[in-house]
């Protein structure tokens, strides 16, 4: 999959059903609150999404990669009952790579 741009990431985040008591979070063995991070992305709180991701977990920079094989969160995603699961790991990487320059969002981290 190609790296997400800001518009594509928002589109992907908008696929999230914003579940009550989100199954993706319940499924994560590392307790990463990925539902809140996606919701922050959905409601345009990009700095909040990144801060939440980094504060939430000591594996923040690696867990999307480490978990690549297992994808517990993605396997629990209810969206898959409609079409396909939200690309949670791609959104995770996207948020991780976000950087900011004033109000400008740099979505490739450079």
């Amino acid at each position: 999959m190609k790296k997400l741009t800001l518009d594509l990431a928002k589109q992907e985040a908008s696929k999230c059903l914003l579940c009550y008591d989100a199954p993706c979070v319940q499924a994560c063995p590392a307790n990463l609150n990925v539902a809140d991070i996606i919701r922050s992305l959905r409601f345009d709180n990009l700095r909040g999404a990144k801060k939440e991701l980094i504060a939430d977990h000591f594996l923040e920079t690696t867990c999307a990669d480490l978990c690549e094989q297992k994808k517990y969160c993605k396997n629990a995603c209810l969206r898959a009952k409609l079409d396909d699961a939200v690309q949670i790991e791609e959104l995770h990487k996207f948020v991780l790579n976000l950087s900011f320059q004033g109000e400008k969002v740099l979505d490739n981290g450079k």
Binding site: Q11, S14, L17, Y20, L82
Partner: protein, 402 residues
Amino acid sequence: MENKDLSIEFCGVECENPFFLASAPIANNYEMIARALDAGWGGVVFKTVGFFVADEVSPRFDQIKKEGTPFLGFKNLEQTSEYALEKNLSEMKKIKEDYPNKVLIASIMGQSETEWTELAKLVTAAGADIIECNFSCPQMADNKLGADVGQNPELVKSYIAAVVQGTDLPVLAKMTPNLGSMVPPAVAAMEAGATGLAAINTIKSITSVDIGNLAPAPLIKGKSSVSGYSGKAIKPIALRFIHELASYPKLEGVPISGIGGIESWRDALEFILLGARNLQVGTAVMQYGYRIVEDMISGLSHYLAEQEVDSLEELVGAALENVVPANQLDRDHIVYPQIEQEQCIGCGRCYISCQDGGHQAIGWSKTRTPSIIEDKCVGCHLCAQVCPVGVITEGKIKAKLA
């Protein structure tokens, strides 16, 4: 593609179908209009001409997006034609020569009664079939032009009278939505001799404020202006005004050209059902191109075939009798929502919305199954509105206790 007879008469002019290009950047010159007519549009409203030649800003557009969907609403700072009047008139003439069976509406805008009369004469001589008076462009640089004219019934009356003096063609008054009721200027236009009404023009708007530069978008050297809002987002407002005009007793039977957020045959049909007999499309063409008319023609044809309706005429205003004042609606019954459990995916959106926006009338189980609590449910159906699967339907109906 299905292609039934969609012909309909408008202001005494026979139209091969009701789909027209609105007076907008999409109908700016001969070459563009010729391509649109070739694509299947029944007619065109040539972008507003006048003695005023527009000098435009750059950039000039903005839009409202939501969750990855662009163009829900569109803001535009462009004014009337940027070309000299003589060029526009000769292009109008050529359109009628090359497309005699298509309908040409000339949109005009004057700055005085004399100018309105003169413009009417000129576009009549150029071969237009109908004249549309633009009383309602919100972004004109000069106060004598633009939206505020349409808010003033006296000005509308005098300008329509001036136009009628200069032509024997049918005359449309294009109404502004930037007022509380469209009836006073509409009645004034009809009393002064207009043949029909076109509604709505764009809505005065500020679509967004650039939070870095502290100015609305689009930024023109750091500044911007209030200007017209269009696109799908304004359809509900347009339909409300079409209903207002079509249901007003004094305006009964007045031909209406419906404008505002039409993208599909279904949107178009909604305007027809509320009383429009002609339709103008602007923003959707800017986004998708002239080709969208193919699906409008085909979609509406399929609908007519399916419903066994022979003529569009039969559908004009067919929904009007079902729009009633709120005090005439039934308030004696509760329709309970019904959740199709086999198809429910257990996301809990109905539960959240009922908790925070309803009456706490949905239960939630450990197995992620929502259930309706009947003694709390008021039958508002917010749950059905938010359900991403669309599996909450109307269930049993109970009479309220007296």
